[in-house]
Amino acid sequence: MTGLAATKRWVERGVGLAALVLVALGPAVFNDYWADAILTQTFIVGIAAASLIFLSAYGGMISLAQTAMMGAAGFILGNMVTQSAPGGETKGLTLGWDPTLAIVLALLGTTLLGLVFGAIASRSTGIYFLMITLTYSVIGFYFVGQVTNVSGFSGISGINSYTPGFVGDMVNDRYRLYYIALGVAIVVYVLIRYVVRTPFGLALQGVRDEPVRMSSLGYAVPLHRTLAFGFAAFLASLSGVLLVWWQGQIAPGDIGLQATIDLLIVAVIGGLGRVEGAWLGALAFIVINNYIRDSWLTELLDDVRIGGSFNTIIGLVFLAIVIVSPDGLIGLWDRLWGLATGSRDPDRPAMAPSPAGQQS
């Protein structure tokens, strides 16, 4: 490793640490709107995006099923914990089980679902994998849309009033959720960094680069892909549980095609090559989402007679990023650093023209 690369790593660590200290101070630094609406959401969406990036960076699989996994966890939790309101319209199964048990079952159930889905898709790679996971996602959406006794007609609400005692009040104490989400996000980050260093993680990266060679070395290639998909489903389920606490409800629209594409956009904006990009992309997306909606930019669209709303803008941003820097913001940073120092970072994962992308 050259001295420059080491310097770059120290710079990154410094920035990361500074960001961590800043968000850890939380209420002291940010106002309520920023803490609750933007940062908490960033942590939660970032976890889901991290599960996507984990699969893409270390498994060479772009999964569009992560929102469906989030939704699975959310719907399982919602159906199990809520109780039928007296006299009110019942939504979902309203089992009214113990919240702690429900959380465990939601995480386990989603992981299991991920293993099954992963097993089915495990013999496909590259663009086929993307298509199969996209069908998972859309099928998941139509499932909750059709099976209305599981999803309620318009979703299940009031889920966040049923939390276990050790989690506490999610409805009024928003900073509690803020710190829980932050904590889970950090755990997820550390967990991913740990898993990719284990023998399993190393083998997974081998499978990503040379599936045929790994297979002839005796590694079970589909099994590694399946397990990785299951692990990513577990991470997404954590995000799903936090999401229903944050929103208080879960509806079919939360896992629709729009949500699926949004999560992909988050991951791509951040950069599909490195896990840190997940939260960077989430922050960028959510800030754009909160501040551009109905602002001067949409008026600009009207002025030039294009019309349309926020989605046109985010689509254009997405298009620009994919064209200009397929590695996202992280890739942009890598490139800028390379330009500034005149070096090429040997660690830089080449996402765009990667061998996985060129398989046919």
Partner: protein
């Protein structure tokens, strides 16, 4: 086993739902032996849906097979095609929102369809030339680019076409009746038969084009080995552009047919992207036969599971038919990851 049981269930076991209650064997319709008229009707519904599926998915499959481009904007082309034809037809007939079917001539249906197909063909050509030509081989990047385009199109459709609310193109007057089918002894909607006919027509035209002309020969050669074809002196870029034009036009034409049969509405782009994906994943990428087989299987499973799945009294609106789509997909992928008629990558 599972397939056998499903067949057995539809043929023998199923019973019509009684007024109240019901058990696991009850469905909207009875079994083949009990109630073969509704069975035949369901079969025909499946076939006609398959016709529409084929029109849309064959374009998707053509583009993928030749260029390895997963056109995520295929559903958007469907949506745009439907809306453009709707606007043109409104313009031609000079009516408000509802048009009486009797007042529409055949030409007033065909012309909007042609305009829509031609417009989307140009849109497809522009997309391919501007966004997809310079990054060939980077499949993922191309998929992401077309996703971005589909996001923009979906939003623009809401902004410009009838606010994205459900809009129906009116079939020409002579189709708006029931015909008595000989031998089967049931009345059946003529428009649905027209859809089936159009599907078969597109299939026949595609087959003749791909297997009986020089251009088709080049395309098939390109599907098999792109580099070799181009090394033999064929202008492969022109062939790519042509495939994209035809594929996009097919999506738009499918949109016109779909909007005539049901309605076109914002949000259907995702649905038709899913339909195309399921058909080509089942049938195998880039194979005409595969697209036909995939359409048939998916159309029949969709149609039968919607009416033959057990219904129990009480919950009126819960349907499980989507689960069967998934099971079909899982079964095919488990045994043939490359699809029924696909070749190993």
């Amino acid at each position: 086993m599972l397939v056998g049981f499903a067949l057995l269930y539809v043929v023998v076991i199923a019973e019509p739902t009684p007024e109240v209650g019901g058990n696991w064997r009850t469905t909207n319709f009875g079994s083949l032996f009990d109630d073969w008229r509704s069975f035949t009707r369901t079969l025909l519904n499946g076939l006609t849906f398959a016709g529409l599926l084929f029109i849309v998915a064959s374009g998707f499959s053509l583009i993928f097979g030749l260029m390895r481009v997963v056109n995520m904007a295929h559903g958007s082309f469907y949506l745009l095609g439907g809306y453009i034809a709707y606007e043109v037809q409104q313009e031609m007939t000079g009516q408000g929102f509802t048009i009486l079917s009797a007042e529409v001539t055949t030409w007033e249906w065909i012309f909007p369809a042609l305009v829509a197909a031609a417009t989307i063909a140009v849109v497809g050509l522009v997309v391919q030339q501007v966004f997809l030509r310079w990054n060939q081989g980077q499949e993922l990047r191309q998929a992401l680019i077309t996703i971005a385009i589909s996001v923009i199109v979906a939003d623009q459709v809401i902004a410009h076409f009838n606010e994205g609310i459900a809009s129906t193109i009116t079939w020409p007057g002579w189709t708006d009746r029931l015909v008595e089918l000989p031998l089967l002894g049931i009345d059946y909607s003529l428009t649905r038969l027209v859809v089936l006919f159009l599907g078969v027509l597109v299939a026949a035209a595609l087959w003749a084009w791909l297997y009986r002309t020089r251009t088709g020969m080049v395309i098939r050669a390109g599907v098999d080995d792109r580099q070799m074809t181009s090394a033999l002196g064929v202008n492969i870029q022109r062939t790519f552009a042509l495939a994209f034009v035809v594929g996009s036009a097919l999506a738009a034409f499918g949109g016109v047919v779909g909007a005539s049969q049901g309605a076109v509405a914002a949000g259907q782009d995702g649905q038709w992207l899913l339909n195309s994906l399921v058909v080509v994943i089942i049938g195998g990428m880039g194979s005409l036969l595969g697209a036909a087989a995939g359409s048939l299987l998916y159309g029949l499973v969709f149609s039968f599971s919607a009416v033959y799945l057990p219904t129990t009294g009480g919950n009126c609106c819960t349907q499980y038919s989507i689960v069967f789509t998934f099971i079909l997909l899982a079964l095919v992928l488990a045994f043939r990851p490359q699809g029924l008629f696909g070749r190993a990558a």
